[in-house]
């Protein structure tokens, strides 16, 4: 179980973008979090993935209260997650070939011996050929790079997947293909999923249930947009 209770988080102390939000994902469950851009849902996803330390509230991961974020989180907690973002180019080291990119978490964990097998196993699953594995990010399309990022997210066999607008830049077919990969991994591993997005049709089709950001916060849906927009 992944439990976020009463989370307050942000980037400047006095103006939190997340205020007192609670959300629970049961083991093996797929929960969609629907909200407009800039509403704070991505920040909540980063808190859930132990990538952003909240200013208040508690995160409980599989029964254990989280006390450290980022490199302060114990390794066994960090490796429980696979995380995907909207823009693969911002999260992929441009110097690495796609094959090395996928293997990065294994290398960082000192598990080099498993690299060849695991990358060889995942590449066809996400639809990457050997030829593509040898290319660098600037030599492939957004869709191909996101396929590599998905393989990287799965390489340690995580119990939790956090997908933040994973398909927002992708065409319909690549979107359906990547969601199918996530779902077949979840079927075989029993992993839970928090999928954050703004496309309600996609989340409704993908997830067991979808929660609306506005319902979590009790705020009008477009609060973050409101001051500058009409």
């Amino acid at each position: 179980m992944l439990e976020l209770r009463d989370i307050t988080a942000g980037y400047e102390p006095r103006t939190p973008v997340v205020r007192g939000v609670s959300l629970t994902v049961a083991a093996g469950e797929a929960v969609g979090l629907l909200g407009p851009s800039g509403c704070g849902k991505s920040t909540l996803a980063r808190v859930a993935a132990l990538l952003h330390r909240p200013d208040g509230g508690t995160v409980t991961l599989d029964g254990e209260t989280v006390t450290g974020w980022r490199h302060r989180a114990p390794r066994r907690q960090r490796t429980a997650y696979g995380v995907l973002f909207q823009q693969p180019r911002l999260s992929a080291d441009p110097r690495l070939r796609l094959g090395e990119l996928i293997a990065e978490p294994l290398r960082a964990g000192g598990r080099r011996a498993e690299i060849a097998d695991r990358v060889g196993e995942l590449a066809p699953v996400v639809g990457l050929t050997d030829e593509l594995l040898r290319r660098r990010p600037h030599e492939v399309s957004d869709g191909q790079l996101q396929r590599a990022c998905l393989a990287r997210a799965l390489v340690l066999r995580p119990r939790w997947l956090i997908c933040d607008e994973m398909t927002a830049m992708l065409d319909a077919s690549t979107t359906a293909a990547l969601v199918a990969v996530v779902e077949s991994y979840r079927r075989e591993s029993g992993a839970g999923l928090l999928a954050v997005g703004h496309d309600r049709t996609l989340l409704a089709r993908w997830c067991d249930r979808t929660v609306r950001w506005a319902d979590l916060t009790g705020a009008p849906a477009a609060r973050a947009e409101a001051p500058a927009d009409r």
Binding site: G143, T174, A176, A177, T201
Partner: protein, 376 residues
């Protein structure tokens, strides 16, 4: 009001007869990138379409299919290693252009000089609605300052007049006038998009080119943005919208052009394409079936590399209708470039249908007939 000279392109490249003369006529447009070592990338091959005033054509396809290269070719913004062939004629559109639009007759965009493109085309005859407005707007200057500068650049109007013209452009793009003195970072995503659209509207260009104008926007904002673009089309402008967002295309377009591996594989009226009878090219059909509101089923495999395209149909490796005939490049006919298009084509006055003309194998034909019988 004569149609442009026929250059052997598919009849469906042209809008239905009775439409006004096209603002843009593209025929046989190809773009090749010559890479180090002489390798050639076929980014766009043999594209053909017309675009009339008041009409929106959505050019859809996945990233890397060549649609943005096509847009860059029209604007003369290709990198130095690009080679173009074919023709892209920008015609004078009577009535819609303002007196300052530099409306100087027909221009061949592919061979026009950079000077001519910069002076008379970009901004004046083609307004560009950019992909990421945040990157398009100068961060250190207010929206008003940028609009006024564009007005002065495009129309030569001096300071006092520029103020009024800038406000008029902002108003047309539904940008709130009390936000004109803000800087780009103080705007929401939706307002930044409107500011960029206002910039595109300053020159009162008869042709708008929108390159992925809704990427990264929320659904509500997508809808508002395309509705606003539609309004500018209804005012008599022609709009070429390049997008991978099929829902946005459905909402705005009169016609749809589907691009795959550098070629326009289907060109159809939007209601028929998104409704019944639906797309006729197997790739286009697969793309719609992948939508979460439809089958949510991906097309197997990935597109071929533009540097290593097969001789025949580029979709063959992924296509469940492929036969030996598909080893030959399908020629566009009646709006679709496929040897075995889905369903019966709309009744054409005389002449064989594309499916019949290709002489399918016996098995293929009976399958085709069976399918027709079922859908009849």
């Amino acid at each position: 009001m004569n149609a442009p000279a026929d250059t052997g392109s598919p009849a469906a490249a042209a809008p239905p007869s009775g439409s006004p003369a096209p603002v843009l006529s593209v025929r046989g447009l190809s773009v090749r990138f010559v890479m180090r070592g002489g390798r050639r990338i076929a980014a766009v091959s043999d594209a053909a379409f017309d675009l009339a005033p008041g009409e929106c054509l959505a050019l859809v396809g996945e990233s890397g299919c060549g649609k943005s290269v096509l847009a860059a070719a029209l604007l003369g913004l290709l990198p130095g290693n690009a080679r173009t062939a074919g023709s892209a004629r920008l015609n004078a559109a009577g009535g819609t252009a303002g007196p300052d639009a530099g409306d100087g007759g027909t221009i061949e965009l592919l061979t026009a000089s950079e000077q001519e493109l910069a002076r008379t085309v970009r901004g004046r005859r083609i307004g560009l609605v950019p992909q990421s407005p945040a990157a398009h707007l100068t961060p250190v200057r207010t929206v008003r300052a940028q609009l006024e500068e564009t007005v002065r650049e495009l129309t030569g109007v001096r300071r006092s007049g520029a103020r009024a013209d800038a406000e008029r452009a902002a108003d047309r793009a539904a940008f709130p006038l009390d936000h004109l003195d803000r800087y780009p970072h103080q705007l929401s995503g939706g307002l930044a998009q409107r500011a960029a659209t206002a910039l595109a509207l300053v020159g009162d260009a008869p042709l708008l080119l929108a390159d992925e104008p809704t990427t990264g926007l929320d659904r509500d904002l997508v809808e508002r943005t395309v509705d606003e673009l539609r309004r500018h089309t209804d005012d008599g402008r022609a709009l070429l919208m390049i997008t991978h967002d099929l829902a946005a295309a459905e909402r705005i377009a009169d016609r749809v052009a589907v691009m795959y591996a550098g070629r326009i594989v289907e060109l159809a009226d939007a209601p028929a394409f998104f409704g019944t009878p639906g797309p006729r090219h197997p790739y286009a059909r697969g793309l719609l079936d992948a939508l979460p509101e439809r089958a949510f089923r991906p097309i197997p495999g990935m597109p071929p590399e533009l540097g290593a395209l097969p001789d025949g149909c580029a979709f063959a490796a992924r296509c469940d209708r492929a036969t030996a005939a598909c080893e030959a490049l399908p020629v566009p006919a009646d709006g679709v470039a496929c040897h075995h298009p889905v369903g019966a084509p709309p009744a054409a006055p005389g002449g064989p249908t594309p499916a019949e003309a290709t002489e399918p194998t016996g098995a293929q034909r009976s399958e085709e007939d069976g399918r027709r019988a079922r859908t009849a």
